[in-house]
Amino acid sequence: MLEARGVTVRFGGLVAVDRLDLEVPDTGIFALVGPNGAGKTTLINALSRVCSIASGSVRVNGTDVLELLPHQVVSAGVARSFQRAELFPTLTVLENLLVGLHSEMTTGLEGALMTPSTRRQEKAARVRAERLLRELNLWELRDFSPADLPYGHQKLLDVARALISEPKLLLLDEPFAGLTEAETPRLLACIAGAGRRCAVLMIEHHFELLEGIAERVTVMNFGRKIAEGSPSGVRRDPEVLRCYLGTGRHGQAETAAC
């Protein structure tokens, strides 16, 4: 599904991602871990064309992603969530999901006239959104602004908004960060379900969450891949241990999470 070769991202003189290779098959859940500043979010941003790549190649399902503009990536089957749930507060929960279907729908200015084809499209999109919202137990909140939702629900909605377009590759940036223990299982089930239909690449620090669901973990540090393997295998990798224990504040926090 995803084939990234030699991906390098630079911010001025800083090399945020350094010649990284990453391959992800058609289905399954794959995790990116690493201390803060390791370049995980930058990699996700690069794969979704939010930031530009200095060198390297990225192909999704054979399509060269680097040829695409940021808004074309979703049509190529790449959808993403955001670390801080970048939702649209002026829209309702339901409308947030409908924006996720933007590139599948075609209604333009004729929407102002509510033409029959507009109504058809709207109806079909709402049916899909309703199904997903019911699945996630968010249906009752459909008319609220996401700004009025608890943070955990916002994160859930953020993932749902990426999921509704039925992507081939789903990029999730710390989907569980900020969730309470009570909220975690619902999102976990949702992501596990997605992992059976498409490839999920997610940033996650909690090994215990990953052990149940992730097929493979890629560990990054200073923009490079330092280890790769099963969650339990990577956890014992001496290089990984050294990078986590040796980086001070962040390292300790993350080791504690392990």
Binding site: H71, A79, E86, F88, P89, V99, T107, A112, L141
Partner: protein
């Protein structure tokens, strides 16, 4: 439209107003014109709200688009006898074309560029209208023929009142439908988070341009109707001051809401008419109101009126919700 409980009575009142004025009898023609003019201004406020409130782009020269529409309609009518519908449509179209030229470079980078470029546009339209007197009549202005609509004579104050009212209703319905479909959601998405909007497949820059062009079309069409309503166009009707009035309507009414824009238009139009004799008074009041609204009542009139109602519905919804909000 939802909230029939509010909209239906409002439309009925507007529809029977000429009758009431007829019964009162005093200065009927004047009041009919004032309210008709307000209907046209409300269309402009709705158009500006689509741009500012919905898409988060600022325009400080909306009266420039109104002027383009009004002059287009007036020239086409005076020279070729084009009727009201044709004039409004042509006026809107020309304003839309002008906005396309401005919008493409101005929306590409930073948000405030559009504010400055539209400010310049408003001034430029004014200057050109004055200078190009062979076409526009310069400071003498331009008179129109008695307005007709699809072959019917609508040249009485009462008929023009209904024309303006229907135009406002049509504009409201069009914008309301647009905001409830794909493109309108994209406008809001661009306002709320450009990065998330792009990730969902919304082309940010061109969506801003489309919103700007839609807004300019409506403002231009309103200008076309205004020309027929007033029967006369002159540059002083469309200065920077009237751009600021439209801006004040949107902010005071509460950005991102059609009823808010209409309510803001009522307030601003009333203040403008009441304080017209003292120079500086309406500007000071409206400026002060804008500052106060932004600081203390973000959401404007709309939020103020809705606060009570909203509290009730939120509670209702929470009670009905099977998902506890604090889960």
């Amino acid at each position: 439209m939802p909230r029939y409980a509010v909209t239906v009575p409002v439309v009925i009142i507007a529809a029977v107003l000429p009758l009431v004025l007829q019964l009162i009898g005093e200065r009927q023609v004047y009041w009919l014109f004032v309210v008709s003019e307000f209907f046209v201004f409300a269309i402009v406020a709705i158009s500006l709200d689509l741009l500012m409130g919905r898409t988060g782009q600022i325009s400080l020269g909306h009266s420039g688009f109104v002027a383009v529409g009004a002059y287009t309609a007036a020239i086409l009518n005076a020279r070729f006898g084009v009727d009201l519908l044709g004039g409004a449509f042509a006026g809107g179209s020309l304003a839309a074309i002008a906005s396309l030229f401005l919008g493409v470079p101005a929306t590409r980078l930073r948000g405030h560029y559009l504010g400055i470029v539209t400010l310049g546009f408003g001034i430029a339209v004014d200057q050109i209208a004055l200078k190009w007197d062979a076409l526009t009549g310069g400071d003498q202005g331009l008179h129109l023929h008695r307005p007709t609509l699809l072959g019917l004579d609508v040249g009485t104050p009462v008929l023009m009142y209904y024309v303006a009212l229907i135009a406002l209703i049509v504009a409201t319905l069009l914008v309301w439908s647009l905001t409830r479909t794909r493109l309108g959601r994209a406008f809001a998405a661009v306002k709320d988070s450009e990065i998330a909007a792009a990730a969902m497949g919304v082309p940010v820059a061109s969506t801003k341009v489309v919103a700007f062009v839609c807004s300019a079309f409506l403002a231009g069409a309103a200008g076309g109707i205004y020309a027929f309503l007033a029967g006369f166009v002159a540059p002083e009707d469309f200065g920077i001051d009237s751009s600021l009035l439209f801006f004040a309507m949107v902010v005071i009414g509460g950005m991102g809401s059609i009823p808010g824009a209409i309510g803001g238009a009522i307030i601003v139009d009333a203040i403008k008419n009441a304080a017209a004799t003292v120079s500086g008074l309406s500007l000071a009041i409206l400026g002060g109101m804008i500052v106060l609204v932004v600081l203390f009542f973000p959401g404007g009139l709309k939020a103020l009126l809705r606060r009570h109602a909203a509290k009730r519905t939120t509670l209702d919804r929470t009670r009905n919700a099977t998902v506890p909000l604090d889960a």
